[in-house]
Symmetry: D2
Subunit: 512 residues, 4 copies
């Protein structure tokens, strides 16, 4: 732990400005909300095992071309929470230590708390216009939701609620960041498939000893895998068939045997003119390999208990707080899309066409629907059995059904508005070359110089058509899983009785 002490030690000058107080917590480290610099240093020191394009990353991860952009963008988030002006909206005093800590760790007990959380999340989302999918508040909220339901694990076999609670407090006080992973490899998605490979494919507990449990196998698609302090690993019931795949724990990214294998990068290049989004927000996704990883007992929340795995996610406030964060970000993103769409309309002067008006109104309808659902979820919030204020799940589930359908449609609308303009994309260099006069003359917009016009269209392209943009679309489409299942879940969980009874009464049915 001493090493860690050094690692996270903040720059004293910045700290004074923000006015952090320092105390010792149970883990013996002084701490609180970090700034960007602290984040970057911490990640660099961690030095986890990351494989990119067939090579193991050596040197500072923050200077690797494939990760530089996203790490800077994340650092900016941490700086924002230390910003004097926004401080009040971003941090709060720890109930344990009094240290000022990140608001996404706040366990809400009132509707006002929920609104505070939303404001904090909005501020972070706005910094990337909703493009960064995994701002730290997402997984902070997930961990917070788990901890808030630690009571559920109480007295159940192979469950350690106290570990969960202690770890939550530790993470909160140190402002740890997370990735998570819960999808098993996509080998065979038949409903009746049961893995029978000799060597594990999906990660499994293959052994346990006095130090902890031993995990072997893989999990899919940890976004920002290797770029966070910790990996939160848990199981989602319906994908499980064996006890040994049922567990939840968190381990540092540099745990021995833990390996992040990156997909190909969707970074287009470093120019923010040419690649306004991917140069900043390419978050990377990784396959997470557990090569006989030892998970220490104090990091195990539960293991080898399929029933708990199935119930914990559905009965905890996981979906409530996770969806609350996601919806907040998606609204910011939709506003960004609307802005881009309207700017395109403006730039090539097509607002007079009825079908253009219809397309834009589609985006407006989607945006306002999401906003109304979010607000309703907050207004209809209620206390759970552990005393925490959960946003109402119905409007959140509805939004989770809506967004995966409208987001791809909105990107399509942007393409339809743009026509060839989204293809004819010269580079920044061309604007500073001998042919700049040609570009200035022939690529001008109705009311914009050529360079601004191209900037707008390159942004539209990077959002919808670059490999970065299309990954975003796929990401939003599958955020909470297969849209077909998401719809089924809404149907199954929705209370339909009062509607049925109305009809039965109307018809005088005896079977009511």
């Amino acid at each position: 732990m001493k090493i860690f002490l050094k690692i996270i030690e903040p720059n004293p000058i910045r700290l004074n400005k923000i006015g952090y107080s320092f105390s010792l917590n149970i883990w013996g480290v002084s701490m609180g909300a970090i700034n960007g610099n602290e984040f970057v240093n911490r990640i660099n020191k961690l030095n986890p095992e990351i494989w990119f394009d067939g090579e193991k990353i050596e040197g500072l991860i923050s200077e690797h071309h494939a990760f530089k952009g996203i790490i800077q963008s994340k650092a900016a988030l941490y700086d924002l929470q230390c910003d004097e002006k926004l401080k009040k909206e971003m941090i709060f005093p720890s109930p344990k230590t009094g240290d000022l800590i990140g608001l996404s760790y706040l366990q809400p007990k009132t509707k006002k708390d929920l609104k505070r959380r939303r404001k904090m999340m909005e501020n972070w989302a706005k910094l990337s216009c909703g493009i960064m999918g995994r701002t730290p508040d997402y997984l902070n909220s997930v961990l917070m939701s788990f901890a808030s339901c630690a009571g559920f694990l109480e007295g159940k076999e192979k469950c350690f609620p106290q570990n969960l609670q202690a770890f939550f407090e530790y993470a909160r006080e140190k402002d740890l960041s997370f990735t998570h992973t819960f999808i098993t490899p996509q080998v065979n998605r038949s409903q009746i498939y049961i893995e029978h490979s000799k060597e594990p494919i999906a990660a499994k507990v293959i052994d346990e000893n006095e130090d902890g449990i031993i995990v072997k196998g893989a999990r899919l698609l940890a976004t920002q895998g290797g770029l966070t302090d910790e990996v939160l690993v848990f199981s989602v019931g319906r994908f499980l068939f064996n006890e040994d795949e049922a567990f939840a724990f968190s381990i540092p990214s540099n745990t021995k045997g833990l390996r992040f294998i990156c997909r190909d990068t969707f970074l287009g290049g470093e120019s923010t003119f040419d690649h306004p989004l991917s140069s900043r927000y390419e978050e990377m996704d990784s396959i997470v390999v557990f090569d006989n990883v030892l998970v220490p007992w104090d990091r195990v929340f539960y293991y080898n208990n399929a029933e708990v795995a199935e119930e914990f996610v559905s009965k905890s406030s996981f979906h409530h707080y996770a969806k609350h964060q996601v919806l907040t970000r998606q609204i910011v993103k939709t506003e960004f899309l609307l802005g881009i769409a309207e700017l395109i309309v403006d730039t090539i002067n097509i607002s007079e066409y009825q079908h253009v008006q219809e397309k834009l109104s589609e985006i407006i309808v989607g945006l306002e629907t999401m906003k109304a659902l979010l607000e309703k979820a907050e207004n209809d919030a209620s206390l759970d059995e552990w005393g925490f204020m959960r946003p109402n799940i119905i409007p959140l589930k509805v939004a989770s059904n809506v967004f995966p359908k409208i987001y791809p449609r909105f990107t399509e609308i942007i393409e339809l508005l743009s026509a060839s303009g989204i293809i004819t994309l010269p580079t920044e260099k061309a604007f500073y070359s001998e042919i700049q006069e040609d570009l200035n003359q022939y690529l001008q917009g109705a009311n914009k110089p050529a360079m601004e016009r191209v900037k707008i269209f390159r942004l539209a392209w990077d959002l919808t058509m670059s490999s970065f943009g299309t990954r975003q679309t796929q990401y939003e489409r599958y955020f909470f899983g297969d849209p077909v299942r998401v719809a089924s879940d809404l149907y199954k969980s929705y209370p339909k009785d009062s509607c049925i009874n109305t009809v039965c009464r109307f018809l005088n049915l005896t079977s009511e």
Copy 2:
């Protein structure tokens, strides 16, 4: 009252003829909100000129087979407001007289007032499960919205705000009911069409004298035309090309020269088993003919002023209160649809199919979206310049874009779930004939006796496939006009600047 009595008194004889009772009603209050009986008697006494299937209606309208059902259903609404249990939610003391009057006449000054109005409207909507399109609160709200903006007419040419205010109070205290009409005949819908017929087609002011203005021509589609105390006539700017088509007034349904020509009836029959909806809620639509109708001056709100006609509807709170009522009713109706859909799923046991689950979840998404938008409109309400609390128009406009698309889809879903079950519809008589055993055996449902199963499917059919049901679909689709225009209007009126600015800032555009 006496002062007002004078103002609105068209002539003393008529009032006597109508024979308003100033007696005590069942809850012991003089005047104000009426009960069902009072409504029926009043309409029967009015005896307006209604033409149905080529014949002029003679005798009591409440006993005519084509109108009996709807008049009874309306009477039930008036009885409901006198119901001892619901009284508090349905009526309030007149600010003028202290009489208890209908809550749809309440001019809201607080958000709480808005919620009260919603509750009242919900109660009425629920009585017909949202099927009756023109419960009296709709046009009461319209008149209330006009009166609340009477100030807009102040000082404008050919405008009489005092008439509007006085008439509103008169109507409120007497609990008058209304139809309205604002669509000109659909002769030619080209954008550049200007009527050049020698004889007026669209209703026009063709003369004026000391008694009032003379109107000749027709207006389309007054729902329940002839079944209300009054006809509210006003103009909507965009359909106007001539000054003489620009006016607003209200006249009693039995005004001389006023003629209601009914469309063919969509009443299927009187059996509530066979025609559970049309037997009760066939509201009838009429063409309104003005055959040199004299509109007395004290009933004229404005005339021959196209500019005012255009602006009054858009600047007044018309859309706010009208949409607030409509959305409230549509939510009740959507709940009814969901209940029917789920009952069908249940009856033939198809809930296991993923595509069935998806279809039901579509309805749930639509319902919850509407509910969230309504609540947001109320939460974001604000005071207008005349001190009345307007629900926020944006969520209401969004809902007006959403419902015309989802309602037809939901009826389609019901058809898709039902398959042949919605066609194989024996009549009530068959269930009481020699072949009842056959029906009981062969038409049973998975968990329902045949008769209940057939009841459910007949309801589904009457809602979606009978000529009554399809008229409902068309009605919801066009409630606020051509969906293409409704979308354009949302686009044009929506504030887009902050979204554009976000993008401009992100791209460092100078043109922000």
Copy 3:
């Protein structure tokens, strides 16, 4: 006519007489194709047990108000085939007797035969603009397809191919007409449902004796049930779970114990102005009850053989010839829809709007797609193992996937074009009453007198919004069963190998 009476008399002698006797008909030919009068007389003489609105029909069925229209429309079909001008396209000499017989009974051996069949079917379809769903050629073709594959039954248990062949020839020479029924009651559509009722619900063979098999139970939805000479009864594999539900036979409509229970009528009225379609083409659907019906052995094609039931429909040319007929009719119907849509556009002068143009082009795309698929099916036809020319099934299956989706959309387009015009529908009587001047003035179209305008809109309404029209929509949607299953079937049966191999070659996959 007396001779005919004898002919149809069901007794064993009749089968011997399959050479057929031989009166002169109006066009001087002995036997074979009948005319309208002959059809009407035959049906009247049959006098089957039909229950309508709880009453057993007595008297001449051709004079019953609920059946008059459709029987006249069917008679017109038979007259058409006797029309001197069209004769060549409608009839052909029997290969057995040389008598001129209906072309829908032709067993095609060449592509030219297919085109002849199509021409014949087109002629009949055009007489009702494609609205009559069950012109006799549909089931004639089905029977022809079965007979053409009688060889499939050869040597299989409880199969009687010779009965099938003999019956086909008998029907062909007598120009018999049919209804059929293959859907079991919609009690419970769960995939795992097995009927366990004590008394049969779905029709079953409950006994057999030396005269034949005894059938008890019901089948759903025989269109024109009771209005045809015969009922063709067969089983479709996937709905079967018991051997005793697996059979195929044909029996006269007046067989003892056979009962047709009509649904409620969708006839709007007898005026062809008010109800241009339902007054002529309301075909009625019935539940068919088998009340211990004895099916004579010589009418049994197979029974108690679930395997054959499953395979016969899928391996025979049933789908080929049935879909060929259906597609031909649907094209004629789509042309009718396009005509109506364009006439509406014209009447209210809205052709300038881009969204109107898009809607019309949608119909055009659908129409031309259907035409191209039909032609391709004929061009790619091939001989089956019994020497008959089958149209290619792929384009026909594609069309069966397309039409159930586009037809409802096209009716929606007609509604969207019409707006309130499709609601404001005065009756014929109103046009001949005192208010005719009002109607003539206020309901005129851009280039049409009011009466013609109303005729057009009433037609549009009767096609899309009357209970007759919506039943048509449901009928087209489900013509070949649940659209979800129809899509699955196309996927499963479509040859995908060459497409897969192309990709494998492109990628150098070893697994090709």
Copy 4:
């Protein structure tokens, strides 16, 4: 011309193999269908002015990383036409010289000619699985269509039909390749916009002298601009507002003052494993700048004649032959998509899901629709006034309405089937690194080794989600222009009279 002689002189060794005969044509050059080598040499020698990423390309274009792939792929096309096995399907003897020349230059006079043309185009399309959008047959066909209608220009002002005919023969005999350009810069797409810039933006004739006309300004989006022998420049009526923008001519790509400014490249990289499509088929699009370009008189087909510009494209066989080629290619592409989709289904074993079956059946429906329309266009072909056999335009226009809608949907289907599998994409290098065992274990498919699984998903990704793939989508969507206009055009040009007349007859309308 001497320079050209050198340039195109084919390698004698290859020529002997293919067995070309050699004669002189009017332009004094010996020639005929070329092979890949000849193509590459010719383009390299041309050395046009191409700007890429702000730099003018120097050196051999065939070795430039951004163009290498596409040039090789084009060379393969030319080799294919010289392939001994396919020769008969690819080339034919020149009617002028007897030289064997490319079949896309064949002016069809019979339906058999059309089928030959289709076969030739299919062969070329299959070489790139339909991915290469501008195989040379596209513009060869366009030029052929223009020449076949040269008669239209006869006797019209500023028209030179003889130049067009002579140039066509020249191009045909030399097997020239083309790009074309007809879209003006997208400055302002308002309907009422007229350019009033001092300096031309859209290319204009600014002067003429004894040598030719002088053109200044730009045109948008020449695909493969600079990679073809010639640039065919013509005008499309509706985008024109000035006479001086109305012209048609062809000039060599290396004409003085002609400048191609490339957009950013969508080449992902050179590995065909990582970028199976973009490494081969990134075609590049360019802005074409005319910097006072002199077009010699003998290359001018017409100029300064707006009326001719408007009519020539619509009255010539341009759309017939262009769409015939495009549809042929799109069918090949759709088969490729179907293969990919089915291979994904297979690889992760999801064929049991009904919604998966529906999605695949959607692709099948689209594919078979396109095939049926193409065949119908050929079957219904007819001779034009100049004796050439035009495929029927209606089915081709229908297909042009269909494909822009289904192609994006099919790419969406592939994404929906793939879920995270289309994101988790390791590179080729990773498969040859230390972590290959991890990949082999964790990325295996249900019935495929990991490497093949990843190959399949990378192909799916490159087709639908890489910047190459999304440009393909936009390209197909806009191939024949704005889909809204394409729909309007179909509506306006479709013969609707017979459909209207059917309805009028049915209703006995006098106004027929």
